[in-house]
Symmetry: D2
Subunit: 402 residues, 4 copies
């Protein structure tokens, strides 16, 4: 007997759960890509994407994944031989740094431990030491899904402003956009990248870059940008195919149109509040369970925790056992720990992650918590009972406030 025979819940930190309406919209014949309804539809998306990013700046859409967007954004503003500063808080910050290095960019890496947000003081020190202003950009991951830490973009902006340093502030919001609060213009982010498969609730395959006029000027001064990565025509196309430097990603666009409609209908403030409330419920449940057992939240300070993903430590072999049990017995797929390890757990099997981004409701999250509490009991993993009860109280209060 298994209790997993129902609609599965994929609780990994991306790809996230795709709304039925998005999948439905993608199920249609190939359209004309030269004229007609599709080009008109794409034009309508640009202001909506700006709304999601809270910017009046420029938007470029790419056919690629998040790793591709690292390369796309850098290609437009940092040339071979130039330098970037990367305060990395986890695997994804390191990945962006690696992408830069492979492009021939010089990287100054400020590696943080796996439990901390970007330290503005370290960034301040590095930029202050850069008297020649060789650092052309600061690459900051807003939410690193490996550690689930969220870094403060406004603090980085303040550092740059304080020093009068001209470097661009570039943010990776792949895991956070349309989940955690993000205000590109208000926060002074110059370039932001994201992708389709998390808060935007569309299958993987689309990437997005948002940039302001300052970044556009930097682009114009670049010696050379390759055609596929160049954002110039993508952000200001004269003909439809220039949006995508070639054939449009037709079916993803249909899905994205529906997803943007859903986002507009809910509203960014409401979306951020929903994610905050659901994350809060998860945290309180984990705190209860962990009060009499090994479960710990990776990020101690709630103010630094992502509202879209939660990294946890249960210790080997519990983590792996729990993931296998929930998949086989309950229909819930938990996320692997990645980029985490311990001396006696070199592969990090004792870590796991919960994705709670995008199309997630109270029902789905309470079900997830119920499954965890059941799993702890079924597998004799020490814990204090009552995590779901505590979560229910938190959500009841949030709902009453909302």
């Amino acid at each position: 007997m298994s209790l997993a025979h129902g609609r599965p819940y994929l609780a990994i930190p991306g790809p996230s759960v795709i709304p039925d309406a998005v999948l439905q919209a993608m199920h249609r014949p190939a359209p004309n890509i030269y004229e007609g309804a599709l080009p008109e539809m794409v034009d309508t998306m640009i202001p909506d994407l700006r709304y999601v990013a809270q910017t009046s700046g420029h938007v470029g859409i790419y056919i690629c994944n998040g790793h591709g967007m690292w390369e796309a954004a850098l290609s437009n503003v940092v040339a071979e031989g130039e330098k970037v500063l990367v305060p990395a808080t986890g695997r994804f910050g390191l990945g962006w740094a690696d992408t830069a290095q492979a492009m021939g960019i010089e990287v100054e890496l400020l590696e943080h431990d796996r439990q901390s947000a970007i330290d503005p003081e370290r960034v301040h020190a590095a930029l202050a030491a850069d008297k020649a202003h060789r650092i052309k950009a600061v690459l900051a991951v807003h939410v690193d899904t490996s550690t689930s830490v969220r870094s403060d973009m406004t603090a980085l902006r303040a550092v740059l402003d304080d020093l009068g340093h001209p470097a661009l502030l570039m943010a990776d919001c792949i895991a956070s956009l349309a989940c955690d609060e993000f205000r590109m213009d208000d926060w002074g982010v110059d370039v932001m990248i994201s992708a389709s498969q998390k808060g935007l609730m569309v299958p993987p395959g689309l990437g997005f870059v948002f940039f302001n006029d300052k970044a556009a000027e930097v682009r114009r001064a670049m010696p050379r940008v390759t055609r596929y990565w160049d954002w110039t025509q993508r952000a200001n196309p004269e003909m439809f195919y220039q949006y995508f430097n070639g054939t449009a990603p037709t079916h993803h666009l249909y899905g994205l149109r529906v997803s943007l409609d859903m986002i507009k209908a809910e509203g960014m403030e409401a979306i951020w509040a929903r994610h905050a409330a659901l994350a809060g419920a998860i945290w309180v449940a984990c705190d209860v369970w962990g009060s009499a057992g090994p479960l710990t939240l990776n990020i101690k300070d709630p103010g630094l925790r992502s509202h879209a993903v939660t990294a946890l430590r249960l210790g080997a072999p519990h983590g792996k056992r729990l993931r296998e049990w929930t998949a086989e017995q309950t229909g819930v797929t938990l996320g692997l720990g990645i980029g985490m390890s311990e001396p006696d757990d070199p592969n990090g099997t004792g870590f796991f992650r919960l994705g709670h981004m995008g199309h997630v409701s109270a029902h789905m999250i309470l079900g997830l918590l119920g499954v965890l509490e059941t799993g702890f009991a079924a597998l004799d993993i020490p814990h204090a009972k009552g995590g779901v009860t505590a979560a229910a109280q938190v959500l009841a209060q949030a709902s009453a406030r909302g």
Copy 2:
């Protein structure tokens, strides 16, 4: 802010949640209905339907809903002016009786209260009084979704056998098939009807009749059966269109094929055990909540409770408020109470029902329970906390056993 923006969970007692694979299979062009793959596919379904009903008897498939199956089954074995005995435990038993009466059939109604299963002693008395054997059939609803009571078919069989009464035992398993244990041949049920949209996990639109040789003989002795309801050719077609007395319900059949594959892969015993475990989790949670508040399970004796639907009383106006709150705030649609009322609640707004039939997992049910506990808290409905915690323990034990 609302916490409802995710995949919705329809927790009404039918139509039940449709598996993604079933919907996917139904999304295809119209097929040839005269020859080829479709006729061959339908042939393969008959043994699988027998397996679901645990019978080696005959199977007829109809394009209609459950109410239609009441009429279909009666049409084949009870003629105008003949008599049936209907021990009714709720709205659906009464509905079957009403259908019979509208067909010109004489109905002897044994009405039960809304908290009881069929009383074999009352049936015994009625049949014993029928010295002339005018009662041609006993119409018994296995699970009445209005009250969520489950009646004991074997007890009714024993009554008939004990008296040597020749009446057919006819069971309505619309709400129970592929949820609650049901063994047609072992239990001596002569005619059983069901429909597609509950345990079979397919959209509404198909009905099923299963009947044994004894019932087939009764059919052959009938003066006249209308073409649409006649099960003779449906159960033994010479040409494909006779399966359905005309055009086949093409797309439902594609869905049903997938649903039967899923059922076979899981196995009837495992399906029954899963429903039993999930129902047990719901009951224990309700018991906890009700220990300090108004919530009560409609059926007191757990042995008489359906494993597919649970009828509850919260009292007016709590029931309606809770249903509205879960829909708006959490993405869960609870079932209305139907056929229930109280002196100060003539419309039964204080009652509600939980559907937990078919494609339901631990995640979905624990999420449902979490939502209820959250709702009680948000709406200040008196209750003892900890229902989900108790449910998690029950499921952990069930999982360990299974």
Copy 3:
């Protein structure tokens, strides 16, 4: 090598080609059937269905197929022992008569040969002979898909009016509705039935009855009508479930909503004109081919030919060879001949039919004709070349007129 690897075209006379948008609309989770969007949506369909039938009368929707609608309509207006007149022009007229007889209704059958429309003079004679007005209804198939003949409903109305005979005029428009012109009120049809899978472009599984006040009065005078077939509540429901006497056919309704939207957007006059033009193109092509070979149109008089289906004779063994060849080599499925035979071809393998109903364009029909001309050549079936060229001229003119 096969030339069949593309989107298949099912050129059988129903089920017809389902629009992608209809299938897309049906691909969604189960809805609440008690309140909310679904009940509201169904209310909007009633005036649209009236528009399709060109009536201000009553509408009932059933979960069943076309054969079921024969029984449904009769159940409401003709009691056991009463009499109907059935001027049958093919297999479907005979089927309706058979359904009536199985209900205990007396049938006076006016069988026509397989190449003729209903002869109003024979109907006149039969009704004139019915001095006692025992004939309660005349059952007329508008288009019999077996022969592809279309009968004139206004001529039958004139006969009834001329004689002052009170019998109801009942029309089976299963194959013709939303294809051939039909004006229920203007033409004086009292009861009309149809189904979802032809001109309405939705998978099989829904039936429709339209009836006027006169028929409603006849219903009220009936001694008894069974619950499932009774149109009273279906046409005038107080609660949503009464539309369907039980659970609603949820997914078909979503498809039907889209189909009705498409029909309204195109407009009934334009739909009729499109079917007329496409049928005309088929006929002229067949005339060309048949001018030097065995191909003949079953109905000689173009004024009596359906615009939705065309029955043809090619002679054994050509018919069967052609059908097999088009399926294997071109992706086109032709309709079998049904209810047709010849002395040396008792199974009618020399006959075949073309469905051209509902979601059919010039491209699809010209492709069908091209496939036929290719098949004649590939199989060495004698024919004059140039059928498609002639069809193209006809469509060019129709398009210029339209």
Copy 4:
């Protein structure tokens, strides 16, 4: 009235018609991208992709469009400052050259007129003049969809071999793969690129590179390749995410799996033969029509014509009128002419193209031809009648041979 109300046929040269089964397979929830069924499925695709390209070489899959693949392939084998030879036969050859230049690569362009295939003698001359072997690669578009010319890869191989020139032979088979015959290994192509939305019948969004050991060596000698374009890990991943340098394009992969299954079931030889036969039917029809009117095939020599796309000239304003008429009146979307013009038609409105690639049957192509002949008649465009008749004869013969 319009005759366009049916399943549309998109006769543009890509994106091509997507099989229903491919769309169906893409309609499913997000999967786990770290372990389980998806990674296993992707492993099975590699040998199938090799089969499609007729190679035993290496395969890399990218999330991008065809233009992205130009950049991807070059990135691996040609560094900034190195040189390529581009014999361009149309817009896409020019586009590849432009992409190379934007990467800082020196381009020697051999521009051909718009009615010719690559001239091996010109290539021979250019390579012979390259005594220093500075030309690192020859970039050859197999089928240029703007002119519909197909160039001979074996002739280019022979030139390279004849001269003992070490340059890589790189082929763009975006429009031809799985349509026109292509044998990578037998023909001596070193690097080949393609994309998902033409012969592979999947929505746009995936690109493919195939390369042999010689090209792999060239890659290893490159000073630097950016992470996203580097084919090393993609073609030989140690972990699943390395296939795609990050998140997998989940839903496209489900579609591709089905598409590859269809291709394997039909077989490459049969696919090539089908495309050849259908193209031949189109040509003969156009020859007939053009024998008494302005229609001309852009490529005179049938041996140089693509089997996947046909470029035609009708002259302004006929071309544009025809395209608009078929879209509005018949449901067929014709391809625009691109990259073509005449002195009195600077925008090339007199040109159009027919896509006949991938999921195309005799029915679809004959319908397309029937629509064209109807359009010529409806718009009074001079032409000789009988094009479809001639096409039918050609297909009849092809079918008999096949």
